[in-house]
Protein backbone atom coordinates (compact mmCIF):
# COMPACT_ATOMS: atom_id res chain seq x y z
CA UNK A 1 0.00 0.00 0.00
CA UNK A 2 1.31 3.48 -0.84
CA UNK A 3 2.27 5.70 2.11
CA UNK A 4 -0.20 8.40 3.07
CA UNK A 5 0.89 11.77 1.72
CA UNK A 6 1.30 14.61 4.19
CA UNK A 7 -0.62 17.85 3.63
CA UNK A 8 2.50 19.57 2.32
CA UNK A 9 3.30 16.67 0.00
CA UNK A 10 -0.17 17.01 -1.50
CA UNK A 11 0.39 20.76 -1.88
CA UNK A 12 3.74 20.10 -3.59
CA UNK A 13 2.12 17.57 -5.94
CA UNK A 14 -0.56 20.10 -6.93
CA UNK A 15 2.00 22.89 -7.49
CA UNK A 16 4.28 20.53 -9.39
CA UNK A 17 1.41 19.53 -11.62
CA UNK A 18 0.65 23.17 -12.42
CA UNK A 19 4.36 23.87 -13.00
CA UNK A 20 4.66 20.96 -15.43
CA UNK A 21 1.73 22.30 -17.44
CA UNK A 22 3.48 25.64 -17.96
CA UNK A 23 2.41 27.30 -14.71
CA UNK A 24 -1.28 27.70 -15.65
CA UNK A 25 -3.92 24.95 -15.79
CA UNK A 26 -7.62 24.31 -15.85
CA UNK A 27 -9.12 22.86 -12.62
CA UNK A 28 -9.97 19.58 -14.39
CA UNK A 29 -6.26 18.95 -15.07
CA UNK A 30 -5.50 19.22 -11.37
CA UNK A 31 -8.43 16.96 -10.54
CA UNK A 32 -7.18 14.21 -12.90
CA UNK A 33 -3.54 14.48 -11.91
CA UNK A 34 -3.86 15.33 -8.23
CA UNK A 35 -5.28 11.99 -7.12
CA UNK A 36 -7.78 13.75 -4.85
CA UNK A 37 -11.55 13.81 -4.49
CA UNK A 38 -13.36 16.86 -5.82
CA UNK A 39 -14.19 18.17 -2.33
CA UNK A 40 -10.64 17.79 -1.02
CA UNK A 41 -9.21 19.39 -4.14
CA UNK A 42 -11.53 22.39 -3.74
CA UNK A 43 -10.39 22.75 -0.14
CA UNK A 44 -6.72 22.55 -1.10
CA UNK A 45 -7.06 25.01 -3.97
CA UNK A 46 -8.74 27.56 -1.70
CA UNK A 47 -5.97 27.06 0.85
CA UNK A 48 -3.32 27.57 -1.83
CA UNK A 49 -5.02 30.76 -3.01
CA UNK A 50 -5.26 32.07 0.58
CA UNK A 51 -1.57 31.28 1.14
CA UNK A 52 -0.64 33.11 -2.08
CA UNK A 53 0.85 30.00 -3.74
CA UNK A 54 -1.55 30.13 -6.70
CA UNK A 55 -3.92 32.64 -8.28
CA UNK A 56 -7.33 32.07 -9.80
CA UNK A 57 -7.45 33.79 -13.19
CA UNK A 58 -10.08 34.02 -15.89
CA UNK A 59 -9.22 33.79 -19.56
CA UNK A 60 -11.90 33.97 -22.24
CA UNK A 61 -14.55 33.09 -19.69
CA UNK A 62 -12.72 30.00 -18.44
CA UNK A 63 -11.19 29.56 -14.98
CA UNK A 64 -7.48 28.77 -14.68
CA UNK A 65 -5.15 28.30 -11.74
CA UNK A 66 -1.78 30.00 -12.10
CA UNK A 67 1.36 29.38 -10.06
CA UNK A 68 2.46 32.47 -8.08
CA UNK A 69 5.99 33.49 -7.01
CA UNK A 70 5.36 32.17 -3.49
CA UNK A 71 4.35 28.83 -4.96
CA UNK A 72 7.61 28.56 -6.91
CA UNK A 73 9.54 29.39 -3.74
CA UNK A 74 7.69 26.68 -1.80
CA UNK A 75 8.55 24.16 -4.52
CA UNK A 76 12.25 25.09 -4.30
CA UNK A 77 12.20 24.64 -0.51
CA UNK A 78 10.43 21.30 -0.84
CA UNK A 79 12.99 20.04 -3.35
CA UNK A 80 15.79 21.09 -0.97
CA UNK A 81 14.19 19.09 1.84
CA UNK A 82 13.82 16.08 -0.47
CA UNK A 83 17.51 16.34 -1.33
CA UNK A 84 18.39 16.66 2.34
CA UNK A 85 16.48 13.52 3.32
CA UNK A 86 18.15 11.64 0.47
CA UNK A 87 21.65 12.94 1.27
CA UNK A 88 21.34 12.19 4.97
CA UNK A 89 19.68 8.84 4.31
CA UNK A 90 16.65 9.68 6.47
Amino acid sequence: MAERRSKHEIIYDILNLISHKGGKVKPTHILYGGNLSHDRLKKYLQELIDAGFIEKVEDKGRVFYQLAEKGYKFMEEFKKIEEMTTAFGI
Binding site: E9, E83, M84, A87, G89
Partner: protein
Amino acid sequence: MAVNTLPWLFLFSTGTQALGAIVCFLISILGFKGYKIKEDQKLLYFFYGFLFLGLGFLMNVLVNLAIQFEFAHYLLDTRYADISFVFFGIYNIILIAVLLAYLSLAFTYADVKNIKRVWLLYIWMIIMGVYSFDKSNLFNIFAAIPLSFVVSFTFEKYLASKNKKILMTSLSFFFLFLFHVLAVIENTANSIKLLRYVALLAGLIILLVILLKIHYGRKKK
Protein backbone atom coordinates in the same frame (compact mmCIF):
# COMPACT_ATOMS: atom_id res chain seq x y z
CA MET B 1 50.22 11.59 31.96
CA ALA B 2 48.64 14.77 30.60
CA VAL B 3 50.53 17.23 28.41
CA ASN B 4 49.94 21.00 28.16
CA THR B 5 47.99 21.99 25.07
CA LEU B 6 49.96 24.19 22.67
CA PRO B 7 48.41 27.67 22.15
CA TRP B 8 47.87 27.22 18.39
CA LEU B 9 46.28 23.83 19.01
CA PHE B 10 43.98 25.47 21.53
CA LEU B 11 42.97 28.02 18.88
CA PHE B 12 42.55 25.28 16.26
CA SER B 13 40.28 23.22 18.52
CA THR B 14 38.21 26.30 19.45
CA GLY B 15 37.92 27.36 15.81
CA THR B 16 36.91 23.86 14.72
CA GLN B 17 34.23 23.70 17.39
CA ALA B 18 32.96 27.15 16.37
CA LEU B 19 32.64 25.83 12.81
CA GLY B 20 30.92 22.76 14.28
CA ALA B 21 28.34 24.98 15.97
CA ILE B 22 27.63 26.87 12.71
CA VAL B 23 27.37 23.71 10.56
CA CYS B 24 25.15 21.93 13.10
CA PHE B 25 22.83 24.95 13.43
CA LEU B 26 22.53 25.20 9.63
CA ILE B 27 21.66 21.49 9.38
CA SER B 28 19.19 21.77 12.25
CA ILE B 29 17.42 24.70 10.51
CA LEU B 30 17.10 22.56 7.38
CA GLY B 31 15.86 19.65 9.51
CA PHE B 32 13.22 21.88 11.14
CA LYS B 33 12.05 23.21 7.78
CA GLY B 34 11.89 19.58 6.62
CA TYR B 35 9.78 18.66 9.64
CA LYS B 36 7.39 21.56 9.03
CA ILE B 37 7.02 20.60 5.38
CA LYS B 38 6.94 16.80 5.56
CA GLU B 39 5.51 16.40 9.09
CA ASP B 40 7.84 13.45 9.59
CA GLN B 41 8.85 12.68 13.20
CA LYS B 42 12.25 11.46 12.00
CA LEU B 43 13.06 14.97 10.80
CA LEU B 44 12.11 16.36 14.20
CA TYR B 45 14.62 14.02 15.91
CA PHE B 46 17.14 15.00 13.24
CA PHE B 47 16.52 18.69 14.02
CA TYR B 48 16.91 18.16 17.78
CA GLY B 49 20.01 16.03 17.18
CA PHE B 50 21.91 18.71 15.30
CA LEU B 51 20.52 21.56 17.41
CA PHE B 52 21.90 20.07 20.64
CA LEU B 53 25.11 19.07 18.92
CA GLY B 54 25.51 22.69 17.82
CA LEU B 55 24.73 23.95 21.34
CA GLY B 56 27.28 21.49 22.76
CA PHE B 57 29.97 22.89 20.44
CA LEU B 58 28.93 26.44 21.28
CA MET B 59 29.26 25.82 25.03
CA ASN B 60 32.72 24.29 24.50
CA VAL B 61 33.74 27.37 22.51
CA LEU B 62 32.49 29.65 25.30
CA VAL B 63 34.44 27.69 27.93
CA ASN B 64 37.58 27.78 25.76
CA LEU B 65 37.23 31.53 25.18
CA ALA B 66 36.67 32.11 28.91
CA ILE B 67 39.93 30.29 29.61
CA GLN B 68 41.80 32.04 26.76
CA PHE B 69 40.74 35.55 27.80
CA GLU B 70 41.14 34.84 31.49
CA PHE B 71 37.48 35.05 32.39
CA ALA B 72 37.65 31.57 33.84
CA HIS B 73 37.68 32.96 37.41
CA TYR B 74 34.04 33.96 36.93
CA LEU B 75 33.28 30.28 36.44
CA LEU B 76 35.57 28.88 39.13
CA ASP B 77 35.75 31.50 41.92
CA THR B 78 33.36 30.85 44.82
CA ARG B 79 32.50 34.59 44.86
CA TYR B 80 30.75 34.07 41.53
CA ALA B 81 29.07 30.83 42.56
CA ASP B 82 25.73 31.93 41.12
CA ILE B 83 27.21 32.59 37.66
CA SER B 84 29.13 29.31 37.59
CA PHE B 85 26.14 27.35 38.91
CA VAL B 86 23.91 28.65 36.12
CA PHE B 87 26.62 28.28 33.46
CA PHE B 88 27.64 24.74 34.39
CA GLY B 89 24.01 23.78 34.95
CA ILE B 90 23.19 24.82 31.38
CA TYR B 91 26.39 23.18 30.14
CA ASN B 92 25.50 19.89 31.82
CA ILE B 93 21.95 19.95 30.42
CA ILE B 94 23.32 20.60 26.92
CA LEU B 95 25.83 17.75 27.19
CA ILE B 96 23.04 15.42 28.30
CA ALA B 97 21.03 16.70 25.36
CA VAL B 98 23.97 15.88 23.05
CA LEU B 99 23.88 12.26 24.28
CA LEU B 100 20.11 12.15 23.79
CA ALA B 101 20.58 13.69 20.35
CA TYR B 102 22.99 10.92 19.31
CA LEU B 103 20.55 8.34 20.66
CA SER B 104 17.71 9.96 18.68
CA LEU B 105 19.86 9.94 15.53
CA ALA B 106 20.59 6.23 16.10
CA PHE B 107 16.85 5.55 16.44
CA THR B 108 16.13 7.66 13.34
CA TYR B 109 18.58 5.65 11.24
CA ALA B 110 17.50 2.35 12.81
CA ASP B 111 13.94 3.11 11.62
CA VAL B 112 12.53 2.68 15.12
CA LYS B 113 8.83 3.24 14.49
CA ASN B 114 7.74 3.82 18.06
CA ILE B 115 10.20 5.80 20.18
CA LYS B 116 7.95 5.27 23.25
CA ARG B 117 9.01 1.62 23.30
CA VAL B 118 12.65 2.52 23.86
CA TRP B 119 12.12 5.30 26.44
CA LEU B 120 14.17 3.42 29.03
CA LEU B 121 17.30 3.98 26.96
CA TYR B 122 16.69 7.74 27.15
CA ILE B 123 16.51 7.51 30.96
CA TRP B 124 19.80 5.56 31.00
CA MET B 125 21.39 8.14 28.74
CA ILE B 126 20.31 10.97 31.09
CA ILE B 127 21.84 9.08 34.04
CA MET B 128 25.03 8.53 32.04
CA GLY B 129 25.08 12.23 31.10
CA VAL B 130 24.74 13.39 34.73
CA TYR B 131 27.37 10.90 35.90
CA SER B 132 29.87 11.73 33.17
CA PHE B 133 29.67 15.55 33.34
CA ASP B 134 33.07 16.04 35.00
CA LYS B 135 34.53 12.88 33.46
CA SER B 136 35.38 13.83 29.88
CA ASN B 137 36.57 10.34 28.87
CA LEU B 138 33.40 8.68 30.04
CA PHE B 139 31.19 11.28 28.35
CA ASN B 140 32.98 10.74 25.05
CA ILE B 141 32.67 6.94 25.28
CA PHE B 142 28.94 7.27 26.02
CA ALA B 143 28.65 9.61 23.01
CA ALA B 144 30.57 7.20 20.76
CA ILE B 145 28.23 4.26 21.49
CA PRO B 146 25.07 5.57 19.73
CA LEU B 147 27.26 7.21 17.06
CA SER B 148 28.74 3.82 16.16
CA PHE B 149 25.19 2.68 15.36
CA VAL B 150 24.60 5.79 13.25
CA VAL B 151 27.81 5.10 11.28
CA SER B 152 26.87 1.47 10.73
CA PHE B 153 23.25 2.21 9.73
CA THR B 154 24.19 5.02 7.34
CA PHE B 155 26.84 2.80 5.74
CA GLU B 156 24.24 0.06 5.32
CA LYS B 157 21.99 2.62 3.61
CA TYR B 158 24.86 3.56 1.30
CA LEU B 159 25.46 -0.10 0.38
CA ALA B 160 21.76 -0.50 -0.40
CA SER B 161 21.46 2.70 -2.45
CA LYS B 162 25.03 3.33 -3.71
CA ASN B 163 24.23 7.02 -3.28
CA LYS B 164 27.51 8.94 -2.82
CA LYS B 165 25.87 11.61 -0.67
CA ILE B 166 24.83 8.94 1.86
CA LEU B 167 28.42 7.66 1.84
CA MET B 168 29.56 11.21 2.64
CA THR B 169 27.03 11.37 5.48
CA SER B 170 28.29 8.05 6.83
CA LEU B 171 31.89 9.28 6.61
CA SER B 172 31.07 12.50 8.44
CA PHE B 173 29.46 10.54 11.27
CA PHE B 174 32.50 8.23 11.31
CA PHE B 175 34.79 11.25 11.81
CA LEU B 176 32.50 12.50 14.56
CA PHE B 177 32.72 9.04 16.14
CA LEU B 178 36.53 9.19 15.87
CA PHE B 179 36.48 12.64 17.48
CA HIS B 180 34.78 11.18 20.57
CA VAL B 181 36.84 7.99 20.69
CA LEU B 182 40.17 9.83 20.45
CA ALA B 183 39.18 12.00 23.44
CA VAL B 184 40.00 9.03 25.67
CA ILE B 185 43.72 9.29 24.81
CA GLU B 186 43.99 12.94 23.76
CA ASN B 187 45.77 14.01 26.96
CA THR B 188 48.70 11.65 26.33
CA ALA B 189 50.13 13.69 23.41
CA ASN B 190 49.43 16.89 21.50
CA SER B 191 49.55 14.89 18.25
CA ILE B 192 46.53 12.83 19.36
CA LYS B 193 44.68 16.02 20.27
CA LEU B 194 45.53 17.44 16.85
CA LEU B 195 44.37 14.22 15.18
CA ARG B 196 41.14 14.39 17.15
CA TYR B 197 40.31 17.89 15.94
CA VAL B 198 41.45 17.12 12.40
CA ALA B 199 38.93 14.24 12.46
CA LEU B 200 36.23 16.64 13.66
CA LEU B 201 37.19 19.20 11.00
CA ALA B 202 37.07 16.51 8.29
CA GLY B 203 33.59 15.45 9.43
CA LEU B 204 32.39 19.07 9.49
CA ILE B 205 33.83 19.86 6.05
CA ILE B 206 32.00 16.83 4.61
CA LEU B 207 28.75 17.99 6.25
CA LEU B 208 29.33 21.49 4.89
CA VAL B 209 29.89 20.11 1.37
CA ILE B 210 26.62 18.15 1.64
CA LEU B 211 24.84 21.33 2.77
CA LEU B 212 26.30 23.36 -0.11
CA LYS B 213 25.27 20.65 -2.57
CA ILE B 214 21.72 20.76 -1.21
CA HIS B 215 21.58 24.56 -1.44
CA TYR B 216 23.40 25.20 -4.69
CA GLY B 217 23.44 21.84 -6.46
CA ARG B 218 20.21 22.38 -8.36
CA LYS B 219 20.91 25.89 -9.56
CA LYS B 220 23.51 24.69 -12.10
CA LYS B 221 20.72 23.50 -14.39
